[in-house]
Subunit: 231 residues, 2 copies
């Protein structure tokens, strides 16, 4: 007979808020790691597929029922990653547009769910994450940053209709660099299936020429990729 282990799912849910890449974390009330923040997640049901479990946990803990993108990230199975019992956790990466934001849900003592800019996670005034969740978030952020290069994933951070400037700001926030708008435009438009023009324009927000609107195209990969400069 095989040893039976607990299997859980944790979700790294990323979005863009005010030009910063943010991750959603949930406040833990009880030990271990009481008062720390943790990723939304929970145990997999006996007859539940992993992907379905990720969506269920997300809806249950944050109210988020649809994501722009959901993919399996990696499985964390260190023998002692949970001090209580052996838990193998399948992590997922989910991306969400700016709006609608999941409303922070009321808790015993302050908001239970909140967004946190990923750059603040390493600093001392950032939140303390429970278990091995710092590593999981780090892996999720790195996966997202890398996938922006060679997939049209950036559009998952945008609403259904978006401008090229919206799309460019995704890259700029995730990579922490400034991209040249003219060159970015040409690059995106010359990649078949990245975006589809809608033939409409935005109403300008406080001055400036109205931008054309686009929706996500059918491409699943960018050829050639949109490479980050450094690394």
């Amino acid at each position: 007979m095989p040893p039976a282990l607990a299997v859980s799912v944790d979700v790294v849910l990323l979005t863009l808020r005010a030009g910063r890449l943010c991750v959603l974390v949930i406040r833990r009330d009880d030990p271990p790691f009481g008062g720390c923040w943790a990723l939304p997640g929970g145990f997999v049901d006996r007859d539940e597929d992993l992907d379905a479990s990720a969506l269920r946990q997300l809806a249950a803990e944050t109210g988020v029922t649809t994501t722009g993108h959901l993919e399996q990230l990696r499985t964390y199975g260190g023998a002692h990653r949970d001090p209580r019992v052996r838990v193998v956790s399948v992590a997922y990466l989910a991306l969400l547009p700016n709006l609608p934001q999941p409303q922070p849900q009321p808790g015993r003592d302050g908001p239970r769910a909140r967004w946190w800019p990923v750059e603040d996670l390493d600093s001392t005034d950032g939140p303390t994450l429970a278990f091995d969740h710092p590593r999981i978030v780090g892996d999720g952020v790195e996966r997202a940053r890398a996938k922006l290069e060679y997939t049209p994933l950036a559009a998952a951070f945008c609403e259904e209709q978006f401008t090229l400037a919206d799309l460019r700001r995704v890259y700029e926030a995730a990579w922490g660099v400034a991209l040249d708008p003219p060159n970015f435009r040409r690059k995106v438009l010359s990649t078949p299936g990245f975006v589809v023009p809608l033939g409409q324009r935005t109403s300008p927000r406080g001055g400036g020429r109205p931008a054309e609107l686009y929706r996500r195209g059918s491409a699943v990969a960018l050829h050639p990729p949109l490479l980050r400069r450094s690394v």
Copy 2:
């Protein structure tokens, strides 16, 4: 109480044989899928890390104790992927140089372990793989092919000392394309940390100028990547 599930590890072990990318499979004697071929793998022990389990299964079933590369591939957790009982399987990808080959181990009725060219897996005269192992092998092969582009992983298919032609043949076998030797050479040598020259030459094998020998460098990523043409 969380439901307890069985957690297993399966390993996609790839190598190059006669210029073809091959995967190691094990013959199943017992049902389900008796007579079919399956990936080496087994259940994770109660206090065993996942990576350690992958190495243990590999050694136990194939005699392979070192790999050029070992990384987690993906976790397969469909509720009915094993007809007997719910099993969540963490798949690993392992790469091995041409030699030393793991010796096929004797079994009840023919060799128990054997290499199979990955191109033959889809054809009708190829082996029938058990469970969802066709998909796992497919994912593993695609991961390996993709990682050749932007990591120095190709060297994991080579022995400790290798020539640039050896390295090039890895790409040619994995991608099924012919690469221009002069351009390949320049590309590899201009990528810092990809390979390190040893200042020695091979004794030529049957005519031709002796080639310079190299060993793996310290780079973990190729910038810029070595892109496949098509896709």
